[in-house]
């Protein structure tokens, strides 16, 4: 991710500088908080990270990590097709994700046994379409430069105008999850018990899949397909290793997700001065690595706690 567009103000030292300031300056390269692109990225990335963390708890409890990832990969097909017909990518992402979620639900994502294959088949079709759309895009629009952006996202290229839309879609996803909170939780932990209690398990599952599709489309658009899966699955899985209470896990997951995103942005900003020079390292690399570290640390912490009794 080149950041040659942003010119950095050179920092001028002052005599009254304390050791704390010097340390802070070493961690946070100057200009981080003042840069417009960073502010937008931090705001958009923050909203998306919180939504992904909250929704992700149900994804992990329901063992639908594959479905979540597949939806994000299929969303790239939607993004590339929207670009082909000249629509805003957002509607391609959302439209295809919701369609794919409906197809998965139809083939049998609800049954544990059929879920894996259903997801795989739908993902295969998504890939087929993605390869076709990208091919057509490269042939007729000569726009192959879009591929890395679609695949790996680029938080730094977002515009602040997208913020209301992102917040709106995130709110819809959270609203669905919140409305269904109790029946969804019961249906996720024990479908049989939920059915006996009169919960319409299939309907609840389908509604949740819709919320997941919207979340994933949102993540795809703002932070890219890789980070979409990382933030959906990693923080939630780490939180569930630390606490078994669902609402506490959801809050913890949102906090971890937000922390990883912001720290990742900061490191990406700092990496501008790392070798190879004048070329920032990709944000997705930092956020993914942080998420993995938190997940491993949570595992070690939980094991240590169990050993101590």
């Amino acid at each position: 991710m080149t950041r040659s567009l942003h010119t950095r103000t050179t920092w001028t030292p002052r005599s009254t500088e304390t050791a704390v300031h010097a340390l802070l300056r070493a961690i946070v390269e100057p200009g981080f908080f003042a840069d417009g692109a960073v502010q937008t990225a931090a705001a958009l990335g923050g909203v998306v990270a919180v939504v992904a963390g909250l929704i992700g708890v149900f994804t992990v409890i329901r063992s639908q990590a594959f479905a979540g990832h597949a939806l994000s990969d299929i969303g790239s097909a939607g993004g590339s097709s929207a670009y082909l017909v000249g629509l805003a990518p957002l509607w391609g992402f959302v439209g295809i994700s919701v369609l794919a979620a409906a197809a998965m639900e139809r083939i049998g994502v609800q049954r544990a046994r059929g879920r894996d294959v259903a997801t795989g088949i739908v993902l295969g079709v998504g890939f087929a379409l993605a390869s076709l759309f990208l091919y057509l895009g490269m042939t007729y629009h000569n726009g192959s430069g879009e591929i890395p952006t679609i695949l790996f996202g680029s938080v730094f290229t977002l515009s602040a105008a997208e913020l209301p839309l992102v917040i709106g879609l995130g709110a819809v996803a959270l609203l669905v999850a919140l409305t269904l909170y109790r029946p969804l939780l019961l249906a996720s932990v024990s479908p049989e018990l939920a059915a006996a209690r009169g919960v319409r398990v299939r309907l609840v599952g389908a509604a949740y899949l819709l919320a997941l599709a919207i979340t994933v489309a949102l993540c795809d658009l703002t932070i890219g397909a890789i980070l979409s899966t990382a933030l959906l699955v990693g923080p939630a899985a780490a939180a569930l290793r630390l606490t078994s209470r669902p609402h506490r896990a959801a809050l913890l997951a949102a906090a971890i997700s937000l922390a990883c995103t912001w720290l990742g942005l900061l490191l990406a900003w700092d990496s501008f001065y790392w070798p190879p020079l004048r070329h920032g390292w990709p944000v997705s690399f930092f956020i993914v690595t942080l998420v993995l570290i938190v997940y491993l640390a949570a595992g070690a912490l939980a094991r240590g706690r169990r050993l101590r009794g």
Partner: protein, 261 residues
């Protein structure tokens, strides 16, 4: 053209055969994660100027071991997802260091089956022989463990699981450079799922899966050659059609047997 045909046929047979176990074990996510993640290996190999095959092999084996070991504690799908995104994150890093070349990225992801040269046949042949040999040696324990998971326990279960993951890694290494990460995933899932819907006998299902994969690839190459559209599109479309058709056949067969009673 003949090269493409030979190499893609090998990929189809091995992919279809290994795919039988992928579907039996419910390991579609792994079959997606290892090829997709190994993309980072190819990107890294390009960066330091070593052979793509070595990079793919290294990353697919590392990914397989990572998923196997990380998945022992905690949830398998979470371990797979995190391993996948970590490898993709590394791939993004490598790509950003090299001169960004999205044409190369495209051909790695979706394959370039019609551009295969003759010197790619020998390594593909060797690796597919290795894959089929491992499959034959592990046939009984792997089948037992897939049908009745949890029967073998502890170290033995881990060994079987790792062997299976390495099998997926071998398949990945040999097929990704020629057919792309996405195509091999479809070849491992769709024909095997269709075969399983049609027959319950394991040996027959495996052979049928390999055969379906072979037919899919042949038809896809022929159509891609005439229309110039990407091979991956046709493989995906045919794979899904084969699965849908097999579900219809299985469904009508069930209905007839119910009516006969």
């Amino acid at each position: 053209m003949v090269n493409a045909w030979v190499v893609a046929s090998l990929a189809a047979v091995v992919g279809g055969a290994v795919g039988f176990f992928v579907v039996m074990r419910g390991a579609s996510f792994v079959a997606h994660a290892i090829p997709n993640g190994s993309f980072a290996g190819a990107a890294g190999a390009t960066l330091i100027g070593s052979s793509t095959l070595a990079g793919l092999g290294l990353f697919s084996v590392a990914g397989a071991l990572g998923i196997g070991l990380l998945g022992r504690r905690g949830r398998r799908d979470v371990a797979t997802a995190l391993m996948l995104v970590f490898m993709l994150g590394l791939g993004a890093l490598f790509l950003s260091f090299s001169a960004e070349n999205s044409e190369a990225a495209y051909s790695l992801l979706f394959g370039e089956v019609l551009g295969i040269s003759a010197n790619e046949i020998a390594p593909t042949l060797a690796l597919s022989a290795l894959g089929l040999l491992v499959l034959a040696l592990l046939w009984r324990p792997l089948l037992l463990d897939s049908v009745l998971p949890g029967r073998s326990s502890g170290r033995r279960a881990l060994a079987i699981d790792l062997a299976f993951l390495l099998l997926v890694a071998i398949t990945t290494t040999m097929t990704v450079p020629v057919v792309g990460t996405t195509l091999i995933f479809t070849l491992m899932i769709a024909p095997a799922a269709a075969a399983r819907a049609l027959t319950a006998r394991p040996g027959f299902a495996l052979a049928l899966s390999a055969l379906l994969a072979l037919v899919t690839v042949w038809a896809a190459i022929a159509l891609s050659y005439t229309t110039n559209w990407p091979v991956g599109f046709f493989v995906g479309a045919f794979g899904a059609s084969a699965y849908a058709a097999s579900r219809v056949v299985a469904w009508s067969r069930d209905r007839r047997s119910v009516q006969a009673q």
